[in-house]
Symmetry: C2
Subunit: 213 residues, 2 copies
Amino acid sequence: MREFRTTSLADQVFDKLENDIILGVYPRGEVLTELKLVEQLGVSRTPIREALRRLEQERLINDTGKGSVVLGITEEDLLDIMNIREHIEALAAYYATVNATDDDRKELRHIMDLQDFYYSKWDVEHLRQVDDAFHDTICFMSRRAVITDTLVPLHRKTRRYRRQAMQDKERASHTLAEHHEICDAICSGDAELARSLLSKHIENAKIYMLGRK
Amino acid sequence: MREFRTTSLADQVFDKLENDIILGVYPRGEVLTELKLVEQLGVSRTPIREALRRLEQERLINDTGKGSVVLGITEEDLLDIMNIREHIEALAAYYATVNATDDDRKELRHIMDLQDFYYSKWDVEHLRQVDDAFHDTICFMSRRAVITDTLVPLHRKTRRYRRQAMQDKERASHTLAEHHEICDAICSGDAELARSLLSKHIENAKIYMLGRK
DNA sequence: GATTGTTTTAATGTATACAATTATACTCAA
DNA sequence: TTGAGTATAATTGTATACATTAAAACAATC
């Protein structure tokens, strides 16, 4: 039986609040106070404070000294995130191709299979999760800490909008086809192709979500 | 008399540790325990823990559950940071030019004057500070939260290497000249020129610090 | 009625006590 | 000497008490 390291309350609080803020459960402008969260979440102030400090570091909230204001992700933020990802994730794809191990390529192909499976079942929530896995795996495969640490939080912050986009079956099919192309480029070792395909992939997603801006 | 808001101990601890890690006072691999820091810094565990959570969020340390391992900034990290900045700071320069107010332009020109002053005095530490101010101001002028929040920490993390580079008077003079060109482009409203000049400026710094990689 | 000064309340900042966990040191037997 | 088992110490996780600050409510004066 595999042992799981129990995650601390502070981590759980952070994960929950981060997700809720990104998905808009706590809307922009809402004020979170430690005491309110103590009541809502049933833990003491210590883990809540630590979670709030981390959320602040990610700029999802802004501490006023008298409650923390939820910032969340605006459409302007989304545009910037996609513009940044367009450049940096292309870099990740390049390094991923260069540094990929056989296991990495196997893993990526497995993700493609899962993706096709969930598409055939038309399971939108799992499709979104597999989209996470696809992009995070490419980051990981790059073996570049700074690139990964820059991209993963940005990608997480688009969750709400990606979930929306996945509802559109035609758009989802387009996304999946691009993922396959990128996977093939990485697995065949063509780093420059992988770079340009991923850049184009993000640009297309940006245009779909925001129009050409 | 101007009133300063007293910064919390937690903030002070974060600032100090961040700076010391970036400058290498705590070398990569060193293990920081809360108790040791309590003794060294003379504050209780609460503010220290909050600072550690933030440092972990910035990936400057890695919490093992039994002490936090200092990660710091490696040369590989520096290369990635410069590659990322090359793209994103160019974007910032573009928006900065588009969104600049008269006050912004005045502020930027003032920074140029300070820069020339400290160069004439050959005050390296202040030159490095003014370099911070130059790049941070352009970020701020872009009025784009995500771009700023992505760039400012990355820029801070290069402090140690920039300080080194500023020691070289010929290199510093080159840097300063490029800053003037960029300032002129931004103030004249040529966004595309500002973008390409800033990209080139970062690339040159990268090449100086790391060679062509 | 507006304004000033005071009281109260709500919120955060900090220290510390206690619990739980994990590594270390130690003891004793084979 | 080595190894198992246990005690000890070190460290973090969590809750909570106390201090401090800032906002809100309120009262009193002009």
